[in-house]
Symmetry: C2
Subunit: 149 residues, 2 copies
DNA sequence: ATCGCTATTGCGAGTAGGCCGCAATTGTCG
DNA sequence: CGACAATTGCGGCCTACTCGCAATAGCGAT
Protein backbone atom coordinates (compact mmCIF):
# COMPACT_ATOMS: atom_id res chain seq x y z
CA UNK A 1 0.00 0.00 0.00
CA UNK A 2 1.36 3.39 -0.93
CA UNK A 3 2.21 5.60 2.07
CA UNK A 4 0.17 8.51 0.81
CA UNK A 5 -2.88 6.31 0.66
CA UNK A 6 -2.48 5.09 4.19
CA UNK A 7 -5.39 6.10 6.37
CA UNK A 8 -4.70 8.23 9.42
CA UNK A 9 -3.90 6.21 12.55
CA UNK A 10 -7.14 4.64 13.60
CA UNK A 11 -8.37 5.72 16.99
CA UNK A 12 -8.14 2.93 19.48
CA UNK A 13 -11.26 0.88 19.55
CA UNK A 14 -13.17 0.46 22.75
CA UNK A 15 -11.98 -3.08 23.26
CA UNK A 16 -8.36 -2.09 22.67
CA UNK A 17 -8.69 0.51 25.38
CA UNK A 18 -10.16 -2.07 27.69
CA UNK A 19 -7.42 -4.63 27.14
CA UNK A 20 -4.69 -2.04 27.51
CA UNK A 21 -6.20 -0.78 30.73
CA UNK A 22 -6.51 -4.24 32.21
CA UNK A 23 -2.93 -5.04 31.27
CA UNK A 24 -1.86 -1.84 33.01
CA UNK A 25 -3.67 -2.92 36.15
CA UNK A 26 -1.85 -6.21 36.14
CA UNK A 27 1.52 -4.63 35.58
CA UNK A 28 0.95 -2.68 38.80
CA UNK A 29 0.17 -5.83 40.74
CA UNK A 30 -3.57 -5.50 40.48
CA UNK A 31 -6.05 -7.98 39.11
CA UNK A 32 -7.93 -8.11 35.89
CA UNK A 33 -11.42 -8.83 37.15
CA UNK A 34 -14.66 -9.17 35.29
CA UNK A 35 -16.02 -6.38 37.39
CA UNK A 36 -13.36 -4.02 36.12
CA UNK A 37 -13.92 -5.14 32.58
CA UNK A 38 -17.60 -4.41 32.87
CA UNK A 39 -16.99 -0.95 34.28
CA UNK A 40 -14.61 -0.15 31.44
CA UNK A 41 -17.08 -1.44 28.89
CA UNK A 42 -19.80 0.75 30.30
CA UNK A 43 -17.49 3.74 30.22
CA UNK A 44 -16.54 3.07 26.60
CA UNK A 45 -20.23 2.70 25.78
CA UNK A 46 -21.02 5.99 27.43
CA UNK A 47 -18.50 7.83 25.27
CA UNK A 48 -18.12 11.58 25.26
CA UNK A 49 -18.60 13.89 27.01
CA UNK A 50 -18.67 11.51 29.97
CA UNK A 51 -21.03 10.03 32.54
CA UNK A 52 -21.58 10.31 36.23
CA UNK A 53 -20.67 7.37 38.44
CA UNK A 54 -24.28 6.81 39.40
CA UNK A 55 -25.48 6.79 35.80
CA UNK A 56 -22.78 4.28 35.05
CA UNK A 57 -23.91 2.21 38.03
CA UNK A 58 -27.54 2.31 36.92
CA UNK A 59 -26.59 1.32 33.41
CA UNK A 60 -24.45 -1.57 34.59
CA UNK A 61 -27.07 -2.80 37.04
CA UNK A 62 -29.53 -3.30 34.20
CA UNK A 63 -27.38 -6.28 33.23
CA UNK A 64 -25.63 -7.01 36.52
CA UNK A 65 -27.97 -6.16 39.37
CA UNK A 66 -25.51 -6.96 42.14
CA UNK A 67 -23.09 -4.15 41.33
CA UNK A 68 -22.77 -1.64 44.11
CA UNK A 69 -21.87 2.00 43.81
CA UNK A 70 -18.83 1.63 46.01
CA UNK A 71 -17.39 -0.91 43.61
CA UNK A 72 -17.89 1.47 40.73
CA UNK A 73 -16.24 4.31 42.57
CA UNK A 74 -13.28 2.13 43.48
CA UNK A 75 -12.83 0.87 39.94
CA UNK A 76 -12.98 4.37 38.55
CA UNK A 77 -10.47 5.57 41.11
CA UNK A 78 -8.08 2.79 40.22
CA UNK A 79 -8.22 3.41 36.48
CA UNK A 80 -7.76 7.09 37.07
CA UNK A 81 -4.56 6.39 39.02
CA UNK A 82 -3.37 4.45 36.03
CA UNK A 83 -4.06 7.39 33.76
CA UNK A 84 -6.65 5.61 31.65
CA UNK A 85 -9.65 7.68 32.62
CA UNK A 86 -10.32 10.97 34.37
CA UNK A 87 -13.09 12.83 36.04
CA UNK A 88 -14.08 16.49 36.08
CA UNK A 89 -16.49 18.48 38.21
CA UNK A 90 -19.23 20.25 36.35
CA UNK A 91 -20.39 22.86 38.80
CA UNK A 92 -22.82 21.55 41.35
CA UNK A 93 -23.79 17.92 41.13
CA UNK A 94 -21.79 14.79 40.50
CA UNK A 95 -18.49 14.52 38.67
CA UNK A 96 -18.37 13.13 35.14
CA UNK A 97 -16.00 10.40 34.06
CA UNK A 98 -14.60 9.62 30.65
CA UNK A 99 -11.72 7.94 28.90
CA UNK A 100 -8.73 10.21 28.54
CA UNK A 101 -8.49 11.18 24.92
CA UNK A 102 -7.85 14.86 24.44
CA UNK A 103 -7.58 17.39 27.25
CA UNK A 104 -10.84 19.18 27.45
CA UNK A 105 -12.10 22.47 28.86
CA UNK A 106 -15.70 22.37 29.89
CA UNK A 107 -17.89 25.41 30.12
CA UNK A 108 -20.98 24.96 32.23
CA UNK A 109 -23.84 27.39 32.53
CA UNK A 110 -24.80 28.02 36.14
CA UNK A 111 -28.22 29.08 34.96
CA UNK A 112 -29.45 26.39 32.58
CA UNK A 113 -26.97 23.69 33.61
CA UNK A 114 -25.91 22.85 30.06
CA UNK A 115 -22.29 22.27 29.30
CA UNK A 116 -20.17 22.78 26.22
CA UNK A 117 -16.51 22.71 25.31
CA UNK A 118 -14.38 25.80 25.22
CA UNK A 119 -11.99 26.33 22.36
CA UNK A 120 -8.79 24.81 23.77
CA UNK A 121 -6.53 27.39 22.16
CA UNK A 122 -8.31 30.23 23.93
CA UNK A 123 -8.05 28.59 27.32
CA UNK A 124 -4.50 27.51 26.76
CA UNK A 125 -3.55 31.08 26.05
CA UNK A 126 -4.70 32.02 29.55
CA UNK A 127 -3.08 28.91 30.88
CA UNK A 128 0.35 29.74 29.51
CA UNK A 129 0.09 33.32 30.70
CA UNK A 130 -0.68 32.15 34.22
CA UNK A 131 2.17 29.69 34.04
CA UNK A 132 4.61 32.38 32.96
CA UNK A 133 3.49 35.04 35.39
CA UNK A 134 2.71 33.14 38.58
CA UNK A 135 3.76 29.57 37.92
CA UNK A 136 0.22 28.26 38.04
CA UNK A 137 -0.71 25.51 35.60
CA UNK A 138 -4.44 25.29 34.89
CA UNK A 139 -6.05 21.90 34.67
CA UNK A 140 -9.61 21.21 33.62
CA UNK A 141 -10.52 19.41 36.78
CA UNK A 142 -13.27 21.89 37.48
CA UNK A 143 -15.33 23.30 34.67
CA UNK A 144 -15.31 26.99 33.88
CA UNK A 145 -18.65 28.35 34.98
CA UNK A 146 -20.72 31.21 33.67
CA UNK A 147 -23.81 32.02 31.65
CA UNK A 148 -24.51 30.81 28.18
CA UNK A 149 -26.33 32.81 25.56
CA UNK B 1 -12.77 72.36 50.99
CA UNK B 2 -11.05 72.57 47.65
CA UNK B 3 -11.98 69.78 45.23
CA UNK B 4 -8.39 68.87 44.49
CA UNK B 5 -7.74 68.33 48.19
CA UNK B 6 -10.66 66.02 48.63
CA UNK B 7 -9.57 62.54 49.67
CA UNK B 8 -10.47 59.61 47.43
CA UNK B 9 -13.88 58.15 48.21
CA UNK B 10 -13.45 56.23 51.44
CA UNK B 11 -14.21 52.52 51.18
CA UNK B 12 -17.40 51.73 52.97
CA UNK B 13 -16.84 50.81 56.56
CA UNK B 14 -18.10 47.53 57.89
CA UNK B 15 -20.96 49.11 59.76
CA UNK B 16 -22.00 51.08 56.69
CA UNK B 17 -22.17 47.88 54.73
CA UNK B 18 -24.28 46.32 57.44
CA UNK B 19 -26.76 49.16 57.62
CA UNK B 20 -27.09 49.33 53.85
CA UNK B 21 -27.67 45.61 53.65
CA UNK B 22 -30.32 45.64 56.33
CA UNK B 23 -32.06 48.57 54.63
CA UNK B 24 -32.03 46.60 51.41
CA UNK B 25 -33.66 43.66 53.13
CA UNK B 26 -36.43 45.87 54.41
CA UNK B 27 -37.03 47.49 51.05
CA UNK B 28 -37.74 44.03 49.70
CA UNK B 29 -40.30 43.31 52.40
CA UNK B 30 -37.91 41.44 54.64
CA UNK B 31 -37.03 42.07 58.25
CA UNK B 32 -34.02 43.56 59.86
CA UNK B 33 -33.35 41.05 62.58
CA UNK B 34 -30.57 40.85 65.12
CA UNK B 35 -29.67 37.47 63.72
CA UNK B 36 -29.02 38.96 60.32
CA UNK B 37 -27.04 41.78 61.80
CA UNK B 38 -24.85 39.32 63.65
CA UNK B 39 -24.23 37.27 60.52
CA UNK B 40 -23.24 40.37 58.60
CA UNK B 41 -20.95 41.52 61.39
CA UNK B 42 -19.21 38.16 61.41
CA UNK B 43 -18.79 38.32 57.64
CA UNK B 44 -17.35 41.82 57.83
CA UNK B 45 -15.02 40.65 60.58
CA UNK B 46 -13.87 37.72 58.48
CA UNK B 47 -12.85 40.01 55.63
CA UNK B 48 -11.04 38.78 52.54
CA UNK B 49 -10.68 36.34 51.00
CA UNK B 50 -13.82 34.93 52.58
CA UNK B 51 -15.01 32.32 55.05
CA UNK B 52 -16.93 29.11 54.91
CA UNK B 53 -20.43 28.99 56.33
CA UNK B 54 -19.38 26.57 59.05
CA UNK B 55 -16.43 28.70 60.13
CA UNK B 56 -18.79 31.62 60.29
CA UNK B 57 -21.18 29.55 62.37
CA UNK B 58 -18.46 28.45 64.76
CA UNK B 59 -17.25 31.99 65.17
CA UNK B 60 -20.74 33.30 65.84
CA UNK B 61 -21.56 30.53 68.26
CA UNK B 62 -18.68 31.57 70.49
CA UNK B 63 -20.82 34.58 71.41
CA UNK B 64 -24.27 33.29 70.53
CA UNK B 65 -24.40 29.57 71.19
CA UNK B 66 -27.96 29.06 69.97
CA UNK B 67 -27.21 29.90 66.33
CA UNK B 68 -27.83 26.99 64.00
CA UNK B 69 -26.16 26.32 60.68
CA UNK B 70 -29.40 26.42 58.79
CA UNK B 71 -30.02 29.94 59.98
CA UNK B 72 -26.60 30.96 58.76
CA UNK B 73 -27.17 29.38 55.38
CA UNK B 74 -30.51 31.08 55.03
CA UNK B 75 -29.16 34.47 55.97
CA UNK B 76 -26.28 34.14 53.55
CA UNK B 77 -28.65 33.06 50.81
CA UNK B 78 -30.88 36.08 51.42
CA UNK B 79 -28.03 38.57 51.32
CA UNK B 80 -26.68 36.98 48.22
CA UNK B 81 -30.04 37.45 46.49
CA UNK B 82 -29.82 41.11 47.42
CA UNK B 83 -26.39 41.34 45.84
CA UNK B 84 -24.58 42.26 49.04
CA UNK B 85 -22.47 39.15 49.38
CA UNK B 86 -21.49 36.22 47.21
CA UNK B 87 -20.05 32.77 47.49
CA UNK B 88 -17.61 30.83 45.38
CA UNK B 89 -16.59 27.19 45.26
CA UNK B 90 -12.93 26.51 45.82
CA UNK B 91 -12.49 23.07 44.39
CA UNK B 92 -13.48 20.33 46.76
CA UNK B 93 -14.68 21.38 50.16
CA UNK B 94 -17.06 24.06 51.31
CA UNK B 95 -17.88 27.29 49.53
CA UNK B 96 -16.44 30.56 50.78
CA UNK B 97 -18.51 33.66 51.36
CA UNK B 98 -17.48 37.29 51.30
CA UNK B 99 -18.82 40.80 50.83
CA UNK B 100 -18.98 41.79 47.20
CA UNK B 101 -16.28 44.32 46.58
CA UNK B 102 -14.40 43.60 43.40
CA UNK B 103 -15.02 40.66 41.10
CA UNK B 104 -12.42 38.10 41.84
CA UNK B 105 -10.91 35.12 40.04
CA UNK B 106 -9.62 32.49 42.36
CA UNK B 107 -6.94 29.99 41.44
CA UNK B 108 -6.85 26.93 43.63
CA UNK B 109 -4.20 24.28 43.62
CA UNK B 110 -5.65 20.79 43.48
CA UNK B 111 -2.44 19.47 44.97
CA UNK B 112 -1.65 21.62 48.00
CA UNK B 113 -5.08 23.20 48.37
CA UNK B 114 -3.84 26.77 48.58
CA UNK B 115 -5.66 29.51 46.72
CA UNK B 116 -4.57 32.78 45.19
CA UNK B 117 -6.04 35.43 42.96
CA UNK B 118 -5.54 35.44 39.24
CA UNK B 119 -4.72 38.69 37.50
CA UNK B 120 -8.22 39.85 36.48
CA UNK B 121 -7.07 41.30 33.19
CA UNK B 122 -5.72 37.94 32.04
CA UNK B 123 -8.93 36.12 32.87
CA UNK B 124 -11.09 38.84 31.45
CA UNK B 125 -9.27 38.50 28.17
CA UNK B 126 -10.40 34.90 27.96
CA UNK B 127 -13.81 35.91 29.19
CA UNK B 128 -14.36 38.45 26.45
CA UNK B 129 -13.10 36.04 23.79
CA UNK B 130 -15.56 33.41 24.95
CA UNK B 131 -18.31 35.99 24.99
CA UNK B 132 -17.54 37.10 21.44
CA UNK B 133 -17.11 33.66 19.97
CA UNK B 134 -19.73 31.52 21.68
CA UNK B 135 -21.75 33.92 23.79
CA UNK B 136 -20.59 32.46 27.07
CA UNK B 137 -19.95 34.87 29.92
CA UNK B 138 -17.55 33.51 32.53
CA UNK B 139 -18.27 34.10 36.16
CA UNK B 140 -15.98 33.28 39.05
CA UNK B 141 -18.51 31.06 40.79
CA UNK B 142 -16.11 28.15 40.64
CA UNK B 143 -12.42 28.68 41.09
CA UNK B 144 -9.98 27.91 38.32
CA UNK B 145 -8.12 24.80 39.35
CA UNK B 146 -4.62 23.61 38.60
CA UNK B 147 -1.20 23.21 40.14
CA UNK B 148 0.80 25.94 41.74
CA UNK B 149 4.57 26.20 41.57
C1' DA C 1 -6.29 -29.08 38.60
C1' DT C 2 -5.68 -27.34 43.07
C1' DC C 3 -3.77 -24.41 46.92
C1' DG C 4 -2.80 -20.34 49.28
C1' DC C 5 -2.22 -15.65 49.34
C1' DT C 6 -4.09 -11.26 48.96
C1' DA C 7 -6.52 -7.99 45.91
C1' DT C 8 -11.15 -7.04 45.14
C1' DT C 9 -16.00 -7.03 46.03
C1' DG C 10 -20.66 -6.51 48.37
C1' DC C 11 -22.77 -4.72 52.10
C1' DG C 12 -23.94 -1.39 55.08
C1' DA C 13 -22.76 2.39 57.71
C1' DG C 14 -20.50 6.94 57.91
C1' DT C 15 -19.27 11.67 56.26
C1' DA C 16 -19.24 16.49 54.50
C1' DG C 17 -21.71 20.18 53.03
C1' DG C 18 -25.91 21.87 52.63
C1' DC C 19 -31.26 22.04 52.32
C1' DC C 20 -36.05 21.62 54.09
C1' DG C 21 -40.53 21.33 56.83
C1' DC C 22 -42.67 22.70 60.77
C1' DA C 23 -43.83 24.86 65.01
C1' DA C 24 -42.30 28.64 67.97
C1' DT C 25 -40.63 33.27 67.88
C1' DT C 26 -40.27 38.03 66.66
C1' DG C 27 -40.19 42.24 63.56
C1' DT C 28 -43.48 45.56 61.54
C1' DC C 29 -47.29 48.11 60.72
C1' DG C 30 -51.88 49.68 61.61
C1' DC D 1 -51.10 46.89 71.67
C1' DG D 2 -52.45 43.26 68.35
C1' DA D 3 -52.32 40.78 64.20
C1' DC D 4 -49.88 38.91 60.65
C1' DA D 5 -46.35 37.11 58.21
C1' DA D 6 -41.26 36.72 58.00
C1' DT D 7 -37.68 34.41 60.43
C1' DT D 8 -35.58 31.17 63.49
C1' DG D 9 -34.35 26.72 65.94
C1' DC D 10 -34.67 22.09 65.68
C1' DG D 11 -34.04 18.03 63.65
C1' DG D 12 -34.26 15.25 59.84
C1' DC D 13 -33.18 14.61 54.96
C1' DC D 14 -30.31 14.71 50.78
C1' DT D 15 -26.52 13.97 47.45
C1' DA D 16 -22.18 12.32 46.26
C1' DC D 17 -19.04 9.90 47.92
C1' DT D 18 -15.90 7.11 51.23
C1' DC D 19 -14.70 3.42 54.42
C1' DG D 20 -14.40 -0.95 57.36
C1' DC D 21 -15.07 -5.58 57.29
C1' DA D 22 -16.02 -10.19 56.05
C1' DA D 23 -16.73 -13.01 51.90
C1' DT D 24 -15.14 -13.85 47.21
C1' DA D 25 -12.16 -14.59 43.49
C1' DG D 26 -7.74 -13.73 40.56
C1' DC D 27 -3.16 -15.35 40.06
C1' DG D 28 1.28 -17.64 40.65
C1' DA D 29 3.14 -21.79 42.37
C1' DT D 30 2.77 -26.60 42.89
Amino acid sequence: MDPVDRPPPAPRTGSQVIELALEAVRREGGRSTTTRRIVLEALVDAGEPGVTAEDLADHIREQHPTFTSSTIYRCLERFEELGVISHAHMGHGPAVWRLIDQPRWYLVCTSCGKSMDADPTLVERLSSQLLRTVGFRLDGHFALTGRCA
